[in-house]
Structure formats: C-alpha cells, structure tokens
Symmetry: C2
Subunit: 449 residues, 2 copies
C-alpha cells in the first residue's frame, strides 16, 4: 500500500496498516520533513514553539489516545492570572474565559450562541448537506448571519474575531452551513473558544510535530521524504503511484492531503466531477503564527496569563506559548497575510512585509504587557501562505461547496482512499480529525484485503 503525505493523518493510516498486517506500506512525502501542518520551530536553547496545529482538548479522543500510545505527554496551556480585552482603546482585564462585556452585549452573546448551537444541532454530522435548511445556510456566509443577527457591536466583534482566528479566514468567506457543522461537531462555541475545558486546553510536551516524528521513527524506511507524488494511475489490477523519486505499483493508495493539495497530482483516469471541483473550490484559511521569545515569562510575575483579545492589528489574539517548565517566555499571535475583510483589516505593509508584521506584533505586545515586551531575545514567524506543498491551514468551506460536492472529500474513487483532517467527522480541521480520518482510511483499505 502507498500513503501520500506524512502528516499526522497519513502516518496514522500507515501505522494502522502495518499493525493490521496489510502487506508492505510506503509513505511518500513531498516535503523534506514529516508533520504536515504541525511543525516545531526552534526557539533557541532546545526550546520549540509550534508553527502549526498545537492544541488538544477534551473530547478529542483519537488524538489523545494516539499521544498516549506514542508515549508522549500533554501539559495544560498556561491560564493563571488576568487576561486582557482591549478594544477602541478601552483596556479591561478579566479572569476565566469570558471577556468583560456589558450586560447588553452579554445577553446578545448568549442569544447568538444559543441560536447557533440550536441550529447546529439540526445539521447531521456526517451529512450536513441533508440538513433541512442546508441550501439556505450554504448559500450565505457566517459573517452575513452575524451581521444580521447580532444586536451589539461588542458581541459581534468577539464572535467575528474569535472565529476569524479559529477558521483562519474572515467569517464573511465561510459558508454558514459549514460554520454550523463545525460548531456541532467541535463541542460547541465555548469549546472552540476556550482553553480550559476547550479545544486549546493542552499542548504536547516537546511540541505537536513529535506525534508525526514518533510515528515516522516507528515506520522507519517506509517513510520517504522529499518525494512529491506527481501521478496516480488506476489500472484494472492496481494503482501506479509516480513520485519524484520512485514509481510504485500497489493495490490501493491513501491520499492524506488537504483537498486543494491533492490538486497537484495528475490522476488517470481523471477524477469524478464532484471530487475534481471539490479540490479546486475547497480552499482552507491561512494565517501566519508569530512568536516572541523572552528570557522568562515576565507577564506571569505581573499577574497576567498572557492571553488577550484585542483590536491591535499586530496582536489580535495573544496567548502564552511558553514551554511547560517556563524556562523561557513565549507569546504567540496569529496574523492573516491575505486580508480578512470586514473582521480584521490589516495594512498592506503588515500583509506583505515580514518586518512590518514583526514591528506591529511587538508594538501590540508592548501595549498589552509593557516595555519588556519590546525586547524579545528572538521572534519566529511561520509563514503558511508561502509554504511549499501545503496550502492553507484550517478547514473551512466557501458557500455551495458542502451542498454541491457533498461527500466527495472522503468517498473512495476506485482504489484511491482519502485521509487528512478535512475528511474527518468530529473536530474536522483539528489534529483529532487527522487521526480519526487516518484510522478510517486504513480500515477501508483493510476491509478490501
């Protein structure tokens, strides 16, 4: 068997195939590293900061089981102390998960959340296109719904900001049906927003890329990096997979890539229409991660958690990303490099110039945490927009995509099976769905043996 892609999903699939005794297994990876959309970045002195997916939380059973199986451990995201909410120059601190908003805004937040979760409960997890209002909801955007249904500017701002970070694109791009599906299959709005008790609760000791590195170590020379697959040809007796380094004939192939990335492969015969269009039209959100590294997490001593939600262009959402022992301090933010529409407006300089992004980031941190924040020992940026072989980070959908291409993301095409977080059901877009999708694709192949 051949697996294309050595991210968490592909490596999970390969490992399950080996465990099931499914014959010889080969993983072909285009990049010169494993991990896909997880990557440990060097923060100096043996410390890492995660450049991609990094958090796990309650309910994400498949990734938590895998972490355990691989002998890895998790630790809690740092949340002690005061968090900061800064908007229109108005700075407030708060403890816990909910920023301090006025009573009207709070009531509005509650009605928005309640209605979203009620609607989400009518969307079938495995077949959102079968929801009674599927076409209506898939014909508009989450942003348009928020604009029409929020009564307070504050609540709307919090929703738009939070989901801009979560989806890595402005909600005005995102199908409202996809947003509802995500809310319904990712534990609800608060789970998606929260650290403690939510999807940002814990991190992996040593960094999330270790999940893939451990699996790759176990798979040994079954994993070939630097070998982009260029063609997958189905023949009557099997599949021929051609990569830059090798050509392999096998019984079945698992393609464990984001749909848009699979578009780089030539398929013979051509893919069915729905799958072909899905690959073209399903484009993930993209945002860069910027981390500032300090000698120590100085904000902790001042009673701050390091977390902030703001309208500062260089630091819209900030969180403490220090290593578990706090041996150095790391503050992390997200910046979309392509403009975010009405939700988050960045200048062309911030969008196009890494130096301007870094300045805006440090200016924002200084506004939030004082002059010490202006003097990091180093800054690290992970630029996902220009990452070779990987397009975008987080799973979203343009209007029309779900109702028109339906299950094309995971429906096998002859001897081709599909993995990748985009083909998972629960926590799609998170590491958890990468694991469950890899397991499901391996099961599909094993069933056919």
């Amino acid at each position: 068997m051949v697996v294309v892609g050595a991210g968490i999903s592909g490596l999970t699939a390969a490992r399950r195939l080996v465990q099931a005794g499914a014959g010889s297994v080969l993983v072909l990876e285009a990049n010169d590293r494993v991990g896909g959309r997880t990557e440990n970045l060097d923060a100096g002195n043996g410390v890492i900061t995660e450049g991609g997916g990094q958090w796990v939380g309650p309910g994400q059973d498949r990734v938590l089981a895998l972490i355990d199986e691989l002998g890895l451990t998790t630790f809690k995201t740092y949340v002690q102390g005061k968090s900061i909410c800064l908007r229109n120059g108005n700075r407030q601190t708060y403890e816990g998960t909910m920023p301090p908003i006025g009573p009207d805004a709070l009531a509005d937040w509650v009605q928005l959340q309640t209605r979203l979760e009620q609607m989400a409960s009518t969307v079938p997890a495995e077949a959102p296109w079968d929801a009674q209002n599927a076409i209506e909801w898939d014909s508009t955007t989450f942003g348009a719904w928020l604009d029409s249904n929020s009564a307070s500017a504050e609540a709307k701002w919090l929703f738009t900001l939070g989901f801009s970070i979560i989806f890595a694109e402005d909600p005005h791009n995102t199908s409202f049906l996809r947003a509802l599906q995500a809310i319904g299959t990712s534990g609800g709005v608060e789970h998606m927003f929260n650290t403690t008790g939510g999807s940002q609760e814990s991190r992996i000791v040593g960094g999330s890329q270790l999940i893939s590195q451990r699996m790759a170590d176990q798979l040994g020379d079954r994993v070939v990096v630097g070998s982009p697959v260029t063609e997958i040809s189905q023949e009557s007796q099997g599949v021929v997979v051609t990569s830059a380094r090798t050509q392999v004939r096998c019984e079945r192939v698992i393609v464990a890539m984001a749909p848009a990335d699979a578009e780089r492969i030539r398929f013979a015969p051509g893919l069915p229409g729905r799958r072909a269009m899905l690959q073209r039209k399903w484009h993930n959100g993209t945002e860069n991660k910027l981390a500032a590294i300090y000698d120590e997490p100085f904000w902790r001593g001042q009673g701050f958690s390091g977390q902030a939600m703001t309208d500062l262009p260089g630091a819209p959402y900030v969180i403490d990303n220090s290593p578990p022992d706090g041996s150095v301090g790391i503050l992390l933010t997200f910046i979309g490099t392509a403009g975010y529409g009405p939700g988050l407006q960045w200048s062309d300089a911030i969008l196009d110039d890494p130096g301007s992004r870094r300045s805006a980031f440090l200016n924002g941190l200084t506004t939030l945490f004082g002059p010490k924040a202006a003097q990091p020992t180093r800054c690290v940026e992970k630029d996902w927009l220009h990452e070779p072989w990987i397009e975008g980070g987080v799973s979203t959908r343009a209007p029309g995509t779900l109702t028109q291409y339906r299950n094309a993301a995971r429906e096998p095409v002859g001897r081709i099976h599909w993995a990748g977080t985009e083909t998972g059901i629960l926590y799609e877009g998170y590491m958890d769905a990468a694991v469950s999708a890899g397991e499901r694709a391996a099961d599909e192949v094993v069933q056919k043996l």
Copy 2:
C-alpha cells in the same frame, strides 16, 4: 518581453508589444495549441463547432475591432422561428427573446431585473469593493438573493437557469457583489441573456479560435507552444522566466492566465498575500459543451430556431450552432460536470460518465425536436473539467473574494503584469475583456520602457 499564455489575451498583448516596437517578444504556452479557452472542434467535413468562448455582441468593441483588424468576419447566431420553453412537462413555444411566462411571473421577472440593475448601477466598475453595500453583498450569494427576493417559481427558475449557464456555476456559489458587478459591466441582464442585441448575437466565421490562430501566425516563431512556465524570478535588473523548454531573462513579463492557473507557477520572491490568496480562492465556473451534428439543421424546416430553455437534465439550454451556410446542422448544450446545487441537479451518471451525458443530451434533444434528433452523425463534447493547464471557463467569485483581495487580479507585482479576461473591466469573462486586458497590460509595459 515574455508573455505567458497564448490565449486571446496573451496574444493580443504580444501583438501590441510588437506593434509598439517594445523589443523582442516571446510567448510561452503550456498547451500544444493556441487559443486558451477558445477551441475549434472538428465537426466533420471541414466544419467546426466551438468548444469554448464563441459569441460576440454589441458593446464588445475591443474584440469586434480585433476581429476586424485580423480580417475575420462575424455572422448572426441563427434565431429564426420558434423557441421552446419546457418545464415540469409543460412545453410552450415562443418567438423573440422572452420565454412565455404567466403575468405574475413576468411582473416578478421585471421587478427582479429592475432591482438588480438598480443595485448594479451603484457598483463602481473598476472598484466594486468600494460600493456602499460592498460587504453586505459580497457576504452572500446571488442564489440566496434570488431565493429571498423572487415571488414566482417561474421567474426564479429562469434567472437561476440563465445565470447558471452564463456563470458556469450555480448562483448559490457566486458572490452577489460579483453578480451585480457583472450585470453592471456586461450590458445588463437582457444583454447577458439575449442572442439578438445581446452577448450571444454573433459568431466568428471559421470559429473563435481563429482569432488566436491569426495572431499566432503573425507573431510567427515568437510563439512557443508545449512550454509550460514553471518559475518566474524577479531580480534587481529583470525577470527570469523558466519554462519546460527554455529559460529567458527579460525586462518585464505579462502573465495572461486565469488567476487559478497562475498558481502552477512558482514565483520568487513569493507573491504578496492578497495576490497569493486570490489565485487560490478565485475558481472559475466550469461546464462542458456538447454538440450534436446532423446532416442538416432539420429543425429549421419545422419552424424552430433550435433554441430552448428546459428542465431536461441533458439539455438545459439548447442553441443552434450550425455553420453560417447551414451545410450541416449543429445543436449545442452546456452541462456542468460537478453538480450545480439547487439550480440544476444532475445524476452522478451524467456528471461522471460521458456516455450517460451523451444519452441524456440526445434524449433531451429528441423530446424537444422529435426523433430525428436521436440520430446525429456525430456528437462532440469539450470536457473543460479535465482540460490540462486550464481551470474552469467563466469568471465568477466566491463571497469575500472581491472585498478582500480587491484589485490584486490586475495590480502589477514588480515586473509582473497581469492579463487574461479576469483582469478586464467591461465584459469580464468574455472574449472582449481578454482583448482589453491584453491591450492594457501591453500599455503598462510600454509605459515602463
């Protein structure tokens, strides 16, 4: 100078550069033919039927001038006799442009058209993102607007069907702002729908690909086909363009491709964020063209124009595509191969199997024009979904694209200038915009000499 892409836009740009004496000019084309999204298909006995863009109409001054300049001629689309409207088994014939709908549906059609054209008039042609309601309109889809604002099922059906064919995708995918911009810059709703007096008024004698072939003949060995460009590197003194066959250093380069197709090229340094995301998120609509060729245009003798609007899955819109002398008869339809959502629902068999598509097409034609239609001398299908090097046909936009990436489609990036119909202002997506965009890009380069 190097031009990437030998469609109408690239060849127009190259020809204008030569005419302006702008030094040596080289056109690099990935495909083994010129013409891009225009292609003459062999219909037997020296007759062609157009596989791509084919019509021109009043107001499309740039392409009409070019046709004239190249010594080509046009002829009127055949419209004599009765057209057919068939819906829910109810068959009616009519003459002229407007299908026979009831008085309520007609009133509804008029109010929809009036409101659309009024809103379209508030959208600046060159900067639709500056419209007062830009964010609201770019956050929803044309289909959602039609669903909410049409009072009669009949008028809604006609609008949805017509615009599904025009945009080559279901309006439930299309940004409402883009739909308004298109209406405002393409002569209005009737111009977009109509043959006589509209965008489907005339065809080119010998087929639309002749426009490109004539220009390529004039440019001679300046045009190199079968040479996909893989990289464009900007350096301080110029640009290095690398293709499969050659590497050229030049002063400036014009990329004359649909934005999504430019994504196949590696750019160094990486493109600015907005342009990079535009290329990923701007995906055109795609539909196949099917033509049935008969010994004679037998429907004409029976008093039919050959034109029909129907809910038959294999023949939603039919038009006479015979050669000017009527020496053979050709009926043409459009089928989307990826599912169209609520507007047009096709079975998986029709979407995925050319044989089923052909059967559905001939069944539809037989329902419309009688048993003779079941016996063509041949059928020709142009499959744009699986066309190498070219993605999609017609210019649309997903919600959010216009307001977020704004003028990134045509704003030069250093020494890179952009052409292609998607960078035109008037009649974007038509051949006319391909011509005006090629001329504009050539002008930009000449200004820099």
